[in-house]
C-alpha cells in the first residue's frame, strides 16, 4: 500500500452514471479516515450531496474518531464566483450589487465553461493546501467524485480550452489548471465501470477521448458491482458454468445468473485487452442494515487497493 506521501494530490473517480462513483468515493475516504488520515470527497451535484448524507448517517455515533478525519465538500460554482467578486471588489456594497444584479447572473450562466473553470479552480486549490504546522498536504486523500462521462469530459476540456478568457482572473486560473492536468504526477484518474455492455462501451469511449484529447491515461480501472465468481478469478468457473448450463437449460432464473456471468466475463476480457491499467474488482453487495454498513463492507473489500 502506498504511504500517504507517495499518494498523488488528487484522485478522480469517473465513469458512466450509476456505476457507483459516489459510493466508492465514500468507501475509499472512509477507509482512510478510519486509519486516521484526512480524507476529503468533493462533489458538485445536489443529488450526490443527498446520497452522501444518507450514506454516512450514524458515522458520528459509531466511529467518532473517524469523523474528525472525513470531510465532504459540495462545491457550488456560482458561490465560488460570487466570492471571487467579493474579493475583487473592495466595497461590500458594490460587490453585493454586482452579485445580485441580473446582468452578472445572466453572464455567468451563458459564459461558456465559466462554472467549470471555477469548480476546477477550487479543486486545484484544495489539492495545493498544506497544513501550516507540518507542511504536509492537508488532505492526504482528496477524491473528486466526478460527474458522469459527458459532463466530466466537458469540465476537463475547459482546463485546456480557456482561450475565450484572454484577460482577468479566470485567464490566469486557466493557465494554472492546464499545467496541473498536464502532469500525471498530480492526479490519479480511475474510471469505474460495471461489467455491462453500455457501461463498458462508455468506459472505452471515455478512456479513448481522455487519451486523444487531453493526453490523460487511467492509472487503474475499477470494475464495480461484479459477481463474486468473477472476483475469485477461478479459472475452473467457466467450465463449471457450462456444465451447469447443460443441466439447467430449463431453469429460467438460473439461466439469468449464467448468462449474466458469461456477459461479465467476456466484457472483463474486452476491457483488459483494450485498456492497459491495473484492474480491481469490487463485488455487488446485497443491501445491508444501513448504508454505512454497506460502505464499511465495500471499504474492507478495497483494502488491497494501493494508495490512489
Amino acid at each position: 500500500m502506498a504511504s500517504t506521501d507517495q499518494r498523488l494530490p488528487l484522485t478522480i473517480l469517473c465513469g458512466k452514471g450509476g456505476v457507483g462513483k459516489t459510493t466508492l468515493s465514500l468507501a475509499l475516504a472512509l477507509r482512510a479516515a478510519l486509519r486516521g488520515e484526512n480524507a476529503l470527497v468533493v462533489t458538485s451535484h445536489p443529488l450526490q450531496e443527498l446520497a452522501v448524507s444518507i450514506s454516512l448517517a450514524g458515522l458520528k455515533e459509531r466511529f467518532p474518531q473517524a469523523i474528525a478525519h472525513l470531510f465532504v465538500l459540495h462545491i457550488d460554482p456560482r458561490e465560488i464566483l460570487s466570492n471571487t467578486v467579493r474579493q475583487h471588489i473592495p466595497s461590500d456594497f458594490l460587490a453585493e450589487a454586482v452579485v445580485s444584479s441580473r446582468i452578472y447572473q445572466s453572464l455567468i450562466e451563458v459564459a461558456p465553461g465559466l462554472k467549470e473553470l471555477a469548480f476546477l479552480g477550487r479543486l486545484w486549490n484544495l489539492a495545493q493546501q498544506r497544513a501550516p504546522e507540518t507542511n504536509e498536504r492537508k488532505f492526504s486523500l482528496l477524491i473528486w467524485d466526478a460527474p458522469a462521462t459527458g459532463h466530466f469530459l466537458q469540465t476537463l476540456q475547459v482546463s485546456k480550452n480557456f482561450e475565450t478568457y484572454l484577460s482577468g482572473p479566470f485567464a490566469e486560473l486557466g493557465g494554472s489548471l492546464r499545467d496541473f492536468f498536464a502532469s500525471p504526477d498530480n492526479f490519479a484518474l480511475i474510471p469505474i465501470t460495471t461489467l455491462e455492455e453500455m457501461a463498458v462501451e462508455e468506459t472505452l469511449d471515455l478512456v479513448r477521448a481522455l487519451g486523444n484529447e487531453l493526453g490523460i491515461q487511467p492509472r487503474r480501472v475499477i470494475c464495480n458491482l461484479a459477481s463474486p465468481l468473477l472476483a475469485t478469478g477461478d479459472s475452473a468457473a467457466p467450465h463449471g458454468i457450462s456444465t451447469l448450463a447443460s443441466v439447467a437449460a430449463a431453469d429460467i432464473s438460473l439461466q439469468f445468473i449464467l448468462s449474466r456471468q458469461r456477459v461479465e466475463q467476456s466484457l472483463f476480457e474486452r476491457l483488459r485487452s483494450t485498456i492497459r491499467a491495473d484492474y480491481h474488482i469490487v463485488t455487488r453487495h446485497a443491501a445491508r442494515q444501513t448504508d454505512l454498513d454497506l460502505l464499511l463492507a465495500i471499504a474492507e473489500e478495497m483494502e488491497g487497493l494501493p494508495g490512489n
Binding site: 458594490l94 453572464l107 450562466e109 451563458v110 465559466l114 467549470e116 458522469a148 479566470f170 451447469l244 439469468f256
Partner: protein, 369 residues
C-alpha cells in the same frame, strides 16, 4: 396531445424505459414520438437511428426516423413510432436558419461565441429539447416521450427554458444587446460605459474580451432568443398542465429510496405533476431454490469438481441475497409513495443488455402489468 417526461439519474435505464413507453403507445394505435438525447449503440439500432450516427454531417431532416414495427406487430397496428435523436449542433443551426434573416444567420453561425457554445454544449441540450418539443407539437404527434439528459442537474430540462426566457427579457441585456454594436463602432461606448458601473465590474471579473464577445453575440442572437423565449414560456406552461404533461421518475433498486424522495420533492416544488415511478432493473427472484440445488447435484454427478460447485453455490446464494434486497427496497418504496404517486411499477432486469424492439416490448409489457 400528451407529453410524457422521464427524469432520473444516470445508469437507471431511463432511455430504454422512455423508448418502451413510446413503443407501447404506438402499438396501441397512437402516433408517438420518442425524443432521446444520446442512446446507447444497441438501443440506437433498435430505434433505427444508426444512420444518423455521425452528428457532424447529419442534417436536421435525418435526425428523425420512423421505426418499423413490422418485426413485432405483423402489421396489426395503425400506430406509428418515430424516434428523434437530439443533436444540439444541428438543432441550433436549424433554429438559427429558421428564425433569422439569411444575413443575420450567417453572422451568428460564424460568430466565435456561437462556435464556443456549440463546442462546450453544456446546458444547451435542455434548451434544444424544448425547441424540439415545440416542433413535435407542430407536427401533430398524439404523444411525445421525452428522455431528459442526466448530465449536470437532472432538472435543468425544466429550469433552463425559464431561465433563458428571463435572461433575454432583462432590460439591461436588451439595452446593452441592442446598442452594443453601435456603441462599439461609434467609440462612445468607451466613455459612456462608466455609467454602467456594474457592467464594468463584471467586465473586470470575466475579462473584457469575453464579456464583449458575449454581448456582441447577444446583440445579433437577440431576435432569435426572444422568439425562442416566447415559445419556451409557452412550453413551460404546457409542462405544468396535468391534462397534457406527466412526469415519470425512473430509478433502480440501488438508488430508489433517495431518488424517489429527491425527484418528488423537486418536481412538486416546481408544480409539476408526477404520475409514475418506475423502479427498473430489479433482479428477478429465484423461484425454485431446491430445483437449483438439484441442478448442482446433477452437475456434480456429471463431473463438476467440489471447488467449482462451492463457487457456484456461493454465487447463487449471493444472487438470492441481492434479489431479496431489491424486493425489500420495493416494499419500502411502495409503502412510502403509493399514496402520493398514482403508478408505481417495477421492471425486471433483462439477463443481457437491450437488444432490438423485442427487448423494449418486454419492458413495455411489464410496465403495463
Amino acid at each position: 396531445m400528451r407529453i410524457h417526461i422521464f427524469v432520473g439519474t444516470g445508469g437507471v435505464g431511463k432511455t430504454s424505459v422512455t423508448a418502451a413507453s413510446a413503443l407501447s403507445a404506438a402499438l396501441q394505435g397512437e402516433r408517438a414520438l420518442v425524443l432521446t438525447i444520446d442512446p446507447a449503440r444497441r438501443l440506437r439500432t433498435a430505434l433505427g437511428l444508426d444512420a444518423i450516427n455521425d452528428a457532424s454531417s447529419a442534417d436536421a431532416a435525418r435526425l428523425q426516423q420512423q421505426v418499423s414495427l413490422d418485426s413485432i406487430s405483423s402489421g396489426g397496428t395503425r400506430g406509428e413510432l418515430h424516434a428523434v435523436m437530439l443533436d444540439v449542433a444541428s438543432s441550433l443551426n436549424r433554429a438559427v436558419r429558421l428564425h433569422a434573416s439569411p444575413k443575420q444567420a450567417e453572422e451568428i453561425l460564424a460568430h466565435p461565441i456561437y462556435q464556443v457554445l456549440l463546442r462546450s454544449l453544456a446546458g444547451m441540450q435542455e434548451l434544444m429539447a424544448v425547441e424540439r418539443l415545440d416542433q413535435a407539437i407542430a407536427e401533430g404527434f398524439e404523444s411525445v416521450y421525452v428522455d431528459t439528459a442526466p448530465s449536470r442537474h437532472a432538472l435543468e430540462f425544466v429550469d433552463k427554458p425559464e431561465f433563458f426566457a428571463q435572461l433575454v427579457s432583462f432590460p439591461i441585456v436588451r439595452l446593452v444587446g441592442k446598442t452594443y454594436r453601435w456603441w462599439e463602432k461609434s467609440g462612445i461606448g468607451r466613455f459612456s460605459r462608466g455609467t454602467f458601473e456594474l457592467y464594468t465590474r463584471v467586465e473586470d471579473m470575466l475579462g473584457s474580451h469575453l464579456t464583449r464577445q458575449v454581448l456582441d453575440f447577444f446583440s445579433i442572437f437577440r431576435g432569435i432568443a426572444e422568439g425562442y423565449a416566447h415559445r419556451a414560456r409557452h412550453t413551460a406552461e404546457l409542462l405544468r398542465d396535468p391534462a397534457i404533461t406527466s412526469f415519470t421518475v425512473v430509478t433502480n433498486p440501488l438508488k430508489a429510496v433517495r431518488d424517489a424522495d429527491f425527484f418528488l420533492k423537486e418536481l412538486e416544488r416546481r408544480r409539476f405533476h408526477v404520475s409514475s415511478l418506475v423502479m427498473n432493473r430489479v433482479w428477478p427472484r429465484l423461484e425454485n431454490m431446491s430445483r437449483i440445488n438439484d441442478s448442482l447435484t446433477t452437475a456434480t454427478a456429471a463431473g463438476m469438481d467440489d471447488a467449482t460447485r462451492e463457487a457456484l453455490r456461493g454465487t447463487i446464494a449471493w444472487y438470492d441475497a441481492v434479489s431479496r434486497s431489491h424486493q425489500t427496497v420495493w416494499n419500502h418504496v411502495h409503502s412510502s409513495y403509493s399514496q402520493r404517486i398514482p403508478h408505481l411499477v417495477q421492471v425486471p432486469e433483462l439477463p443481457e443488455d437491450i437488444a432490438g424492439l423485442p427487448a423494449l416490448q418486454h419492458i413495455a409489457q411489464h410496465m403495463k402489468a
